[in-house]
């Protein structure tokens, strides 16, 4: 019986550095190979916004205050709206007649390319907020870079989404500061959340051969290049929030290659139920 994929994935960054070092010797990818990497890159973005959007929407009706309930629902709405554009473009690039809905509702966990951080369970409100902040800061830098994509369709979606994400980041930064530099209880919870989530941030900045391929074509940035700006925002905000960044550089990884935690399956079971049970249902 074949064993399940090992969570101890090879050092993707090292592999990518190796690939990048040889990139100028490599042949320009054939259109098919290039399109495949481009399709994957779009899934990595669109699946991240889809899964986080779904996670955040789980708070609808449950947040600790009405204003926060509404804010979370609005952030989820922005993310799902952006997903429609990213997965719509992914389907177009793939050219197999699939739609954004097909990609969202009819793929199984191993075909999803989101980083693991967005499938982490919500935990308490502070935990959700910390995950949002760590992701928003990355998302903001990613969209800034994607606005310079060599593909105008990517640049246009990024320009649209960046305006929305600027508000997400502003809100999550402010709340991380207020809760971190708040009561002893809120500070403890925010530190717990940071300790639990920090090891999931490293994956955002790992690059593999697909990242290298799209970066070489100017379609998307090399994830490693996003890290300095992300780190500077994160360090500033966490310092203001009086929180301590964990020292360990260990990074959980796998999501970008389709190796997920068990949580993703539960999300999909919930999110995809209707289309699985009643294929093609519309309303």
């Amino acid at each position: 019986m074949p064993s399940l994929p090992d969570m101890n994935t090879p050092d993707l960054a090292e592999l990518a550095r190796g690939a990048a070092a040889h990139a100028h010797h490599a042949e320009i990818p054939t259109p098919d190979a290039g399109q495949e990497a481009f399709f994957e890159a779009l899934l990595r973005i669109g699946d991240a916004t889809l899964i986080l959007g779904h996670r955040v929407s789980e708070w609808c009706g449950h947040a600790p205050a009405l204003e926060e309930d509404i804010a979370l629902a609005n952030v989820a709405l922005d993310l799902i709206g952006q997903t429609q554009m990213w997965l719509g473009l992914a389907a177009e690039v793939e050219g197999k007649g699939r739609t954004a809905d097909d990609l969202a509702y009819l793929r199984d966990a191993w075909d999803f390319r989101n980083p693991l951080i967005v499938e982490r369970p919500n935990g308490d409100f502070g935990h959700t907020l910390m995950r949002q902040f760590l992701f928003d800061a990355y998302h903001f830098e990613l969209l800034k870079a994607l606005q310079r994509s060599s593909d105008p369709r990517v640049a246009e979606i990024a320009a649209k989404a960046a305006k929305e994400v600027a508000y997400h980041l502003e809100r999550s930064s402010d709340l991380v500061v207020r809760l971190g530099d708040g009561t002893a209880e809120s500070r403890r919870r925010m530190q717990d959340a940071l300790d639990a989530l920090w090891a999931y941030t490293g994956e955002l900045f790992l690059a593999d051969e697909k990242d290298a391929a799209v970066a070489a074509q100017g379609l998307a940035p090399d994830p490693r290049d996003l890290k300095p700006a992300w780190e500077s925002v994160v360090r500033d905000v966490l310092a203001e929030a009086t929180l301590t960044i964990p020292e360990s550089a260990f990074a959980h990884k796998g999501g970008k290659r389709g190796v997920h935690t068990e949580h993703l399956g539960f999300i999909l079971a919930d999110m995809q139920f209707l289309q699985r049970a009643y294929p093609g249902a519309t309303w």
Partner: protein, 173 residues
């Protein structure tokens, strides 16, 4: 032989200026600045619409309302196109639209503070800039933000510290 005369684009713009926004019905679609272009492609009327927020549920309703309004005016062949670039900005809300918003109780966006890829609020707060939102009821600038997100993605919740009115602020993007 009959000659079909199309209504001019200016006439169509005028019709659209009477179609209310589904969520903030005091302003029209042209006040909101979501209509990018009106043109004839042979005998088909093409209306280009830009969405406000990516996930705004009103987008579908807006398209439906445009279609209904133009059909009612006798337009038979109609095509709606979505344009996301340049992205919609609150700077496109007309001066008249801003006045209508204020009269309705929604503080209009502050001119020239549209999100431009920087964290305007944070940057300005740290720099101590005065970006006070005026209360649409009493005009006081002593107001506080309750939440970055209000009843719709495009609005934030505010409260007036003088007259105590809770109100929505149409935030800038």
């Amino acid at each position: 032989m009959t000659t079909v005369t199309h209504p001019s684009p200016a006439e169509v713009w005028d019709w659209l200026s009477h179609v209310p926004d589904p969520e903030i019905p005091v302003i029209s679609l042209t006040d909101l600045g979501v209509i990018r272009d009106v043109a004839w492609d042979d005998d088909t009327l093409v209306v280009t619409v830009t969405p406000t927020y990516s996930g705004c549920p009103a987008t579908a309703v807006i398209n439906l309302d445009i279609e209904a309004a133009l059909r009612a005016k006798g337009v038979r062949k109609l095509r709606l196109e979505r344009q996301i670039s340049p992205p919609w900005t609150t700077d496109w809300i007309s001066a008249e639209g801003r006045e209508k918003l204020r009269a309705y109780g929604i503080a209009p966006p502050i001119d020239g503070t549209a999100a431009d890829g920087r964290l305007m609020g944070r940057v300005n707060r740290l720099a101590g800039a005065d970006l006070a939102v005026a209360c649409p009821r009493c005009g006081s600038k002593r107001t506080s933000k309750v939440s970055q997100f209000g009843s719709t993605p495009c609005k934030a919740s505010y409260r007036c510290d003088d007259c105590l009115e809770p109100f929505d602020y149409f935030k800038c993007i």
